[in-house]
Amino acid sequence: MLLERLSNACGVPGREDEVRAILKEVLADQVDELWSDPMGNLIVRKGSGPTKVMLDAHMDEVGFLIGDITAEGYVILKKIGGLDDRVLPGRQVWLTDRRIPGVLGAKAWHLTSADERSKVIPFDEMYVDLGCRNRAEVEALGIEPGEPAYFATTFEPFSEKVVKGKAFDDRVGCAVLARVLLEFDHPGITLYGAFTCQEEVGLRGARVAAYNLNPDVAIALEGTGSANVAGVDPFDSITNMGEGPVISLMDASGIPNKRVWDELVAVAQKHEIRYQHRRLTAGGTDAGGIALQRAGVPACTVSVPCRYIHTNAALCNLDDVEGAVQLVHRFLERVEKGDFRP
């Protein structure tokens, strides 16, 4: 499964090389043109029709950079992107793209006071233990400040429909985009697939990609938070994993173009694709950055709901992935036939 390969690949913002290599390999023979721009975005083109549609999915994931190595041989990390301190202590991590194993250490339970046990360990007190005894041993492994670090999580299916992995934000979007490119042809439009970099640090790659491509309409494909889980009132669940792809309402980065939004809803209804909205306006997606390029780009976000996003182990439902693929395909079909003119 492509999602499995993409989830297991490592790529913090600016270090998306592994993800880019997989996508290149999978797509190269199936598209009309493929190139990387100077920022690191991987762009593919299919078709050469009059309307230019950009589908975006970002390749980077939240993770860490190595900040320092202590004299005692511990590695100090810096976060890249929004990570929750509550879920970090004790996690296994991979240091550098060579996946050198380590563990985010914390003082043993036996040594903690009752007070300490009821508190979240502040991130600046966490360190990675590689089993080294001093700085020289760490350096001998080729570990240097500035190198990336990742959650050491391997993709696995939990059930027929539900899969677990790291980096579903946004490898699930990359998988949806790649599948749309591989499984359907829309020769009547110019379809750009933009696999972008550095989303998690400010929607950076997508802005550059949209500026260069200057599309007529754009859809950002995302993995988004979902909280239909124990202990959360269904009213507050944001999105529900297993209940279809998500059409965004609004977030901190942008208000979806109303015509594109209406069209996506109409397409979902027409083809009986179960869909939902994201009942939260915090956060941002590439659509917000894309919309502002040049003289404006009508844009919207379609997401796959993922539980435990931005942690070491997220879940998603393959039916939601399928729904997102179908929704995007049907939207492209409308543009291709001239039924929707952006």
């Binding site: 609004m250 208000i255 909205h277 306006t281 003289a295």
Partner: protein
């Protein structure tokens, strides 16, 4: 100066148009400005651009005023049919309690807060809109998730003062119309941009500036009036004239354009206030668009901004229009 200014402010303030949903405002502005300009078009972002050609030899001047107002978005509906909201732009829960709103569909509702013992407990999470529905299904038949609402209230005129919701920034839009109407032969090509999503971020102004490639820009917006009790310390007051912005959180006044504005104001005896503001304005995205645009901000002081009772002084609007007209009569050469 015509008496149409008041009429226009009232008409524009009554139009429904929160951020990203400015279509009705755009349509009305298009109708109002068409007689005064050579070309009107919409860009892909939803900005309305009206172009008045110059007599030649001049510069391309962009005047912007965002045409959206703050509002709220339907985010969630309870089993009982109450609609819970997310703010769009500068929408504050404590200004909203008890107010009436109208949704894009025309449905009217009243805003209330879940029971709170103290004012500080009022927040967006507890604020809801009651449209009289008795179930979730009935509410969703009238208001879909993602729909937006804005305050509804009649405009009141008290001598020079106007009170209405949405004066931020329909007052600025009215100023642009006034300028368009009275702009006699000028060498400059003037682009009037009524921008989308100025209340959020802001966004549309940068797109408009990129698309029109102006040599110089004037942003017309509203600013906090510092003459209310315990207001942040800003040196603006109602009736003191338009305010020339020197700095805000995303913008430093372009020295050349600011000097030009001050020089013309002095020469023409138009009172101008000076303002240093704390928020961000459309000037941030306009001034940084494309290769960069020398930009000045002419603000209209507003009391009680973000409430259903925003208050402006008509004299400040006249002053802003007058100042802009005089500026457009200037060669606008920047040293």
């Amino acid at each position: 100066m015509s008496s149409k200014l008041l009429e226009r402010v009232q008409r524009l303030a009554a139009l429904w148009g929160p951020s990203g949903r400015e279509q009705k405002v755009s349509a009305a502005l298009e109708e109002l400005i068409t007689p005064f300009v050579d070309e009107v078009k919409q860009d892909r972002f939803g900005n309305l651009l009206a172009i008045k050609k110059g007599q030649g030899g001049g510069r391309r001047v962009l005047l912007t005023a965002h045409m959206d107002t703050a509002g709220a978005l339907a985010l969630n509906v309870s089993e009982k049919g109450l609609i819970y909201l997310a703010p769009v732009g500068g929408f504050k829960a404590h200004y909203a309690v008890g107010q009436r709103v109208v949704w894009g569909s025309g449905v009217v509702g009243v805003l209330q807060c879940e029971h709170a013992e103290e004012a500080k407990e009022i927040d967006m999470k507890r604020l809801f809109c009651d449209i009289g529905a008795t179930s979730k299904e009935e509410a969703l038949d009238n208001v879909a998730l993602g729909d937006m609402c804005t305050f509804v209230a009649d405009a009141q005129v008290m001598e020079d003062l106007i009170v209405a919701p949405g004066l931020d920034n329909r007052a600025g839009c009215a100023v642009l119309l006034e300028v368009a109407e009275h702009l006699a032969g000028t060498e400059h090509e003037v682009v009037f941009a009524f921008t989308s999503q100025g209340e959020v971020a802001p966004r549309g102004g940068g797109v408009a500036a990129y698309g029109t490639e102006p040599d110089i820009a004037f942003v017309v917006d509203t600013t906090l009036s510092g003459d209310i009790p315990r207001a942040p310390k800003v040196a603006t007051r109602l009736g003191g004239g338009p305010a020339l912005k020197l700095k805000d959180a995303g913008y430093m006044a372009h020295h050349g354009v600011a000097s030009l504005v001050q020089g013309v104001a002095e020469e023409q005896a138009i009172p101008v206030q000076l303002e240093i503001a704390s928020g961000v304005s459309e000037a941030q995205v306009v001034s940084l668009a494309g290769q960069g645009v020398p930009t000045a901000v002419i603000d209209i002081p507003v009391r009680y901004r973000g409430t259903a009772g925003e208050m402006v002084n008509l004299r400040d609007l006249h002053g802003a229009a007058d100042l802009l007209l005089k500026l457009l009569g200037n060669p606008l050469s920047l040293s």
